[in-house]
Amino acid sequence: MTAFADPQRPSACPACDAAPLAEEIAARAAPKDARLMLALPGIHCAGCISGVERILTGLPGVRDARVNLTLRRAAVEAGPEVEAEALCAALNEAGYEAHELDPGVLASTEIDARGRALLMGLAVAVFAMMNVMLLSVAVWSGAEGVTRDMMHWISAAIAIPAVIFCGQPFYTSAFTALRGGRLNMDVPITLAIALAVGTSLYETMLSGDHAYFDAAIALCTFLLAGRYLDHRTRANARSAAQELAALEVPRALRLTGQGTETVAAADLRPGDLVRVLPGGRIPVDGRVTDGHTELDRSVMTGETLPAVAAPGDAVHAGEANLTGPITVEVQAAGRDTELARIADLIAVAEAGRNNYTSLADAAAKLYAPGVHIIAVLAAAGWWLATMDVRVALNIAAAVLIITCPCALGLAVPAVTTAASGRLFRKGLLIKKGTALERLAEVDTVVFDKTGTLTDGAPEPLGLDQLDEASSRVALALSQGSAHPLAQAMARGLAARGITAARVDCVVEQPGFGVEGTWRGKPVRLGRAGWVGGGDAVATTATYLRIADAPAQAIRFADTLRDGAAELVADLQAEGKRVVLLSGDVEAAVAAFATRIGITEVISEARPEAKANAISALASNGAKVLMVGDGMNDTAALTAAHVSISPASALEAARSASDMVLTGQSLAPILDAMTTARSARSRIKENFTIASVYNVLAVPLAVAGLCSPLIAALAMSSSSLTVSLNALRLR
């Protein structure tokens, strides 16, 4: 996985920025598709649908546009000359937030073949069940002789094709398990269906009393409902995750003899020259050949302080260019970059993660052999007692039907569907099925600093101590730069109601600062060495110098992400161990830790050190929740028991984590932990309910007292109870 880029960028359309991504995605993103997909996160009403469709169809080259409000997407049919960037720009101008999506990545969700097949199977099963149940009512209420046989025959005619069609997911899964020499939940299901239908057909031929066609088809229906819920939860999470991945279409500006051309980052070769504009992300590993700038390396190293880059300096894929345009000579692209090393680390961490056994797997492991043993014992007992194979087979079929895991099959999907729906509304996306269960066990929480507990934007300190003239000059100068420190300062000063002084000839010197002329005197804002006339301070700061007066330092501190301080305090109040794990320099991390109230601190950690720290905690028996966002966190995220990354995290970090926050705030993490714990106890309750039903009904079946009516009642009531119990989740 070598995919990364930051969707939070000052430019209008993040997808338009050059960003390297997995090669396979890049290959598919080659600009030949006439069908474009746009993400429209802000649309919500009929007016939005009309507005977006009117704007899109009004653009030249667009043949057709259709908005899907459920998925918040638009599909556009257009000529090959139409660029998605232009469509995004037109929509943004009209006030609709729009991003380009990669249709190749989305193809699998658009035609959700498996989901449709399950839904169709469920529809057929419900249709067949209703009809067979109606016919069975006649038998239960005392139909006899020819009438009963006729009802049985019609039931058989409906149930047998329906069971063959609807049960396919179970048969294939059971077959694969058996071929691999394992037993799973589907083996007893398949056996129960086959035996029930087989003995019922045999009984019907002999004009027998009992036929279990209704039970066989009801079984299929309840289990398919569980499967469909399960599939929908997973598909929703997957499509949302894919949508995040598809937001980052990797492009690079390659210099040619005539000018520049936009190419896929994967097509770059060593020796190519690439232009990287301010605000863009460096797509390759290479060397600067032209231009001065400052680079934000926080996603690679966790350092908050921008680093200067001049001709001859090495740059790495994933770093963001802040101030000046630079030309980079490609030394390694795609799989060969520095990132490959981190990808190796992730693979190691993946292998080291102990295999988690989910509650459902644990239940299946006990259940599958147990059911078979009971059925075989019951059949053998009756055969020895009566020496009648027909009676023995009937008993075995009854036992398998009664014990069949309808409730077990619904117990987990119903709860996870309810829980993930609730958490999605609160702003947390669950990507992996067992993540909720693992989250419920967490006792240690490890946070990354930059970009996770802080939101990456620095905050100027002591602006009130500047005199008015200095403030006005500082505002005028800082408005002339795209550097994050300058922008933070401009925001801070503007919020204090200061108006900009009239400064002429404002010029940005990329990598150094901004200078201009104020009332005939030179003024400068930037690095200490360049501004001159003062000493540098130890923390992040910028310097203002007016004419020959001494330079004034303006210090900066990281801003806390929304909800970060409350989250840390609440976690500590709950008795969780909280650790800060950062790649930033020790002084900055220590100062930050004191501010937010974390005592356990590990600083200057390289990606390997981060992963090792997590493994060390885990080997001491801690269940670690890792919260991180950077490239340097990916190995640690993979190594942790469960992991969460914020929406602003790199694609690689998001794909390594089990859950993704969809909003800016960290607050949903605490909600998620509460919900996870109650979901876990609901699942356990559901297993208890299902077991109680089995314990009550199995003796009846073994004793041969289980009529089809009792089987139908037991099955329906246990399934209903567990579904309703799941909906109680808070």
Partner: protein, 52 residues
């Protein structure tokens, strides 16, 4: 009880028609955008059928 000979096939036929209709709707993509379709009916521009 002779009436069963008519009623059972009739009920099966009606159920089958419903099932076929559901299958057709699923294939035509009528469940692809339930929220959008609910809102589309309220807007003023002419759009009487889902565009493919």
């Amino acid at each position: 009880m002779d009436v069963l000979g008519i009623l059972i096939p009739a009920s099966l036929l009606l159920g089958g028609v419903g099932l076929a209709a559901f299958w057709w709707m699923l294939r035509k993509g009528q469940f692809d955008d339930p929220d959008g379709d609910a809102h589309r009916i309220l807007r003023e521009d002419y759009d009487d059928k889902p565009k493919r």
